[in-house]
Symmetry: C2
Subunit: 310 residues, 2 copies
């Protein structure tokens, strides 16, 4: 059974003859006739009585008609549902986000997207750059914003914002030059992102730097949220590190905290990622474009809005 056959069957009913139906569908009459005949053969029953004048449905045809209409309508809905996704009239756009992305940034991006496409639902997932990268490279989500580096080669990575890791302490003397990894290792240390440990790219970069310097980073406190680490550091519990991106706009940044870049900068970069060679859905493309726009604007404004440095 074919959708086409059902459509031809319905057209024949509607127009009262095979000829008229064929005309309406821009077909030759024998073509349509054959399809109906084929349908009848497959179903094992005549659907029409061919009386010279006009077609009359058999009992089987009468039984088939409403079901055929339902089937054709369902197919149309199926096509429409995909078109909705394509035309940004429906569906869900999913964006993977590294865990300590500034909430105001995510909020901005999502709000801007919803303003343009109110019918598309948005899902923001992810707590960790490497986890997001894995999900994107496996195709579970289409796009994400992560901290570099991400190792997976199946990704299309577009860096959008360079940043560096800052030393953060409540004691202004601790952020005076020279700001070194040794100093960080020496003092009481607070490290965020406890859950994912060495999988986090920034944390990995930090540990590698320590190894190279011959010191070990032994955190006195491990917390999950960077915000918590900052809060603890502001209270003098210990020193910590914070991504420069998180200090921008000073949203929720503790006043008591002083930050400074390392003498030998620990660079990090934010990037938008998507699967290489996998076409992005319009929704995701739009979402990524907005994210890039937000991050780009952020990079330009960064200098003037940095948190106090020593």
């Amino acid at each position: 059974m074919t959708l086409q056959q059902l459509q031809h069957f319905l057209a024949a009913i509607e127009h009262g003859s095979f000829s008229a139906a064929a005309d309406a569908l821009h077909l030759a009459q024998p073509s349509l006739s054959e399809q109906v005949r084929r349908l009848e053969a497959e179903l094992g029953t005549a659907l029409f009585v061919r009386t010279g004048r006009r077609l009359v449905l058999t009992e089987a045809g009468r039984a088939l008609r409403p079901e055929a209409e339902r089937t054709v309508a369902a197919a149309a809905r199926a096509a429409a549902s995909v078109a909705d996704v394509r035309e940004l009239r429906g569906g869900t756009a999913t964006l993977g986000i590294f865990g300590d992305a500034p909430p105001w940034l995510v909020g901005n991006v999502v709000a801007a997207f919803r303003r343009r496409h109110p019918d598309v639902r948005v899902r923001v997932v992810g707590v960790n750059s490497s986890e997001v990268a894995e999900a994107v490279s496996e195709g579970r989500i289409e796009a994400g914003i992560v901290l570099l580096p991400v190792d997976d080669a199946a990704l299309d990575v577009r860096p959008v914002l360079r940043s560096q890791l800052l030393y953060a302490s409540a004691d202004p003397r601790r952020v005076r030059p020279p700001v070194t990894i040794e100093r960080l290792a020496a003092g009481p240390l607070i490290l965020p992102d406890a859950r994912f440990g060495a999988a986090d790219p920034t944390q990995r970069a930090l540990l590698e730097r320590a190894q190279r310097a011959g010191v070990r980073l032994e955190p006195h406190v491990e917390v999950e949220q960077p915000q918590t680490a900052l809060e603890l550091a502001a209270r003098g519990v210990g020193d910590t590190v914070v991504s420069e991106a998180l200090t921008l706009r000073r949203a929720g940044f503790p006043r008591a905290l002083h930050v400074a870049p390392f003498d030998e900068p620990i660079e990090e970069a934010l990037a938008v990622i998507s699967r290489r060679a996998a076409p992005l859905s319009p929704a995701s493309r739009e979402l990524l474009a907005l994210a890039e726009q937000q991050l780009g604007r952020l990079g330009q404004a960064a200098v003037g809005e940095r948190a106090p440095v020593a």
Copy 2:
């Protein structure tokens, strides 16, 4: 978009890979892959992300899935509904019946049919032989039971019961020989089937006979139901005619009434009719078979059960 494509799409989701899905559908992998690719091309969107290990639905694919399932299910229901009709598990069997068919006969046939096929609905339509014949020859209904003659050449006519028209009167002297059309024309006359007049074959035969005898049949009372005519005749309002078939079994036959055949018999015949060269649905075939059976049995029992003759 094709039902097949939707089925392949769903199979691919279910089995997690094109290869497994193709196996399950007894297809080669490239065949299934191509169908999915074609579907994607038509919809203008990728439905799967082909990650080396397993297939992952895109957003469009996620949107399509439930609609595809609905569509395929609807198609299955469509096929099933026709099969139900074919297998006598559903649908409606329609039987055309001439207007003054004895209700007990129709009741017997329908009851027997329903006993065998309780899921098939039965519709009994028609008030007049010629109307039934027209409906059957136009294909509006598949089969019927009529009084001969019927003129239409597109019919397959199988006579099943010979009968004749009887003179009926409350006065026993009026049914003594010679029973002639002249006598009928002379007395107060009650004629049934007023609505369809000369189109009714029996009435036509009667009028033709009168014309041949040089008399005119001017009914004093015209009624629609033969039963009403008999009732009036029983009360002495006038004389009437009644089909012999109606007097059998004496069901509802007025006791006060006397009947007799005409000296020159006015023959009539009951026949089952269907469209020539149009295949009967199983339900109609069964219904007709039962009707023939009932009428055949009736013909054998006729002699012993006739109403009182003079």
